[in-house]
């Protein structure tokens, strides 16, 4: 990875650093996991242009994860690559939505992935990210504000992409509509923790690092209703679910992703990439 400025969190108390670190893990792990899941679509997307688009978006998302891991590394005095690859499931703070498999089968075996799920998951995730980045651009933490401004410019194209897919498929054939309805139901069971801010949620918002979850959820609802207005469906968002990734409580799918993702890096950790 390229070298970035360091020493950005000097002067912060240890407790403040712990609050920021937890928030950074949520942001970094989200992009890292969904970037990986999206990259598993490489070569499998519905058509060649989509393959290029999807891969490009995954690359941007990995860039966003790298910026957050860079900040986290600045707090911990650790290497960003190590923080990405060598943290176990219990230390991960990503939303359940970002870790789930793309469907049945394995990439290297017979992948039977679900494109409708990919579209719905990415619309929900990217819209949630858009709302979060708006809030982070007002953060009391300068490094967070800077990184959010950078990510927001790239996200513009991602959100437009998934919104276009979503609206088109929702208004397409009966087969497409049925698949999208099933995907919406699945995503509704996995996205409740998207706006959860983890074990320090009160401190994180009191410090002004990010807006309160309730405020962001309201903005999200408004944005999503505008999208759903262009379909025959009504937007709904779950209140709760069994697991909560923001508290380190994940599904088996996370272990599966981490194992695959870190296999090469872990095989020769001292190699120069």
């Amino acid at each position: 990875m390229e070298k970035t400025e360091s020493g950005k969190f000097e002067g912060l108390t240890e407790t403040d650093q712990a609050y920021l670190a937890d928030l950074l893990k949520q942001l970094a792990d989200d992009d890292y996991l969904l970037s990986f899941r999206s990259s598993e679509w490489l070569g499998l997307a519905p058509h060649i242009e989509e393959d290029v688009a999807s891969a490009s978006i995954s690359q941007d998302m990995m860039g966003h994860a790298a910026m957050y891991y860079g900040l986290l590394g600045d707090i911990y005095g650790r290497d960003a690559d190590d923080l990405a690859h060598f943290r176990g499931p219990a230390d991960r703070r990503n939303s359940i939505l970002t870790e789930k498999r793309n469907g049945e089968g394995e990439y290297l075996d017979v992948p039977k992935y679900d494109w409708a799920y990919h579209v719905v998951r990415n619309l929900y995730y990217n819209m949630h990210k858009k709302v979060k980045l708006v809030a982070l651009k007002q953060s009391s933490s300068t490094p967070l504000r800077d990184v959010a401004a950078k990510a927001a410019m790239e996200l513009y194209y991602h959100e437009l992409h998934w919104r276009t897919w979503f609206i088109q498929l929702m208004n397409s054939s009966d087969d497409a509509k049925a698949r999208m309805a099933a995907a919406l139901e699945k995503v509704n069971g996995e996205c409740a923790d998207l706006f959860h801010l983890g074990k320090y949620s009160e401190d994180i918002t009191r410090k002004g690092y990010i807006a309160p979850a309730s405020e962001m959820k309201d903005s999200f609802r408004k944005e999503m209703e505008k999208v759903f207005d262009q379909t025959d469906s009504v937007f709904s968002f779950p209140d709760d679910q069994k697991e909560n990734g923001r508290l380190g409580r994940h599904t088996e799918d996370l272990e599966h992703a981490l194992e695959l993702m870190s296999e090469v890096y872990g095989s020769v950790p001292y190699a120069k990439w």
Binding site: M1, E2, K3, T4, E5, E49, V52, A53, A55, S56, I57, Q59, D60, M61, M62, G63, H64, A66, M67, K130, V134, T142, P143, D146, V147, A149, K150, A151, A152, M153, E154, Y156, Y157, L160, H161
Partner: protein, 167 residues
């Protein structure tokens, strides 16, 4: 002993102008507006760059190429190159020379604005025609889109617009 030469900003910038985009040899990192700050104390140079796209795999290559070029300067003993996000790179940082270099390579310079419906326009870098279609917003690299000219029938790429009022 090396002859003493003052490492001033102008000298450093002219050296950085020799460092090309690893994929576009007609455009330098200065032309792309990537150079944010240069400083020299005695024989040490420090350069701060702005990444174009955050996930761009060319960044470590650019970092290395910059450091190597700077060490060629008379009187330079060390060269530190780092990236910052404190100012986001925007596509309006591409200079006039950068625009010429991109066109020469067959890449349309970034559009100046995006319409409220998300559409945007660039002209064909080969024939100048406005009769072009966007084939894919996402291209072979993070910073470029794929287009097609209906006049001269050439496919071409355009640099994406990146601005701070995109949301």
């Amino acid at each position: 002993m090396k002859a003493e030469k003052i490492l001033d900003e102008e000298l450093i910038l002219s050296k950085l102008a020799e460092v090309k985009d690893p994929e576009i040899d007609t455009v330098s990192i200065v032309d792309l507006g990537m150079v944010y700050r240069v400083a020299a104390v005695d024989t040490s140079i420090k350069v701060t760059l702005l990444p174009t796209f955050s996930g761009c795999p060319a960044l470590p290559i650019i970092e290395k190429n910059c450091a190597e070029a700077l060490l060629e300067l008379d009187g330079a003993d060390s060269a530190e190159v780092e990236f910052t996000f404190s100012v986001p790179w925007t596509s309006d940082r591409v200079t006039e020379a950068g625009i010429r270099g991109l066109k020469e390579f067959g890449i349309a310079p970034p559009p100046e604005f995006i319409e409220s419906d998300g559409s945007w326009h660039v002209d064909c870098p080969y024939c100048g025609s406005t009769f072009v279609t966007v084939e894919n917003i996402f291209g072979p690299t993070a910073c470029r889109s794929i287009l097609y000219c209906r006049n001269c029938r050439n496919p071409f790429e355009a640099m994406k617009l990146v601005s701070s009022n995109m949301h």
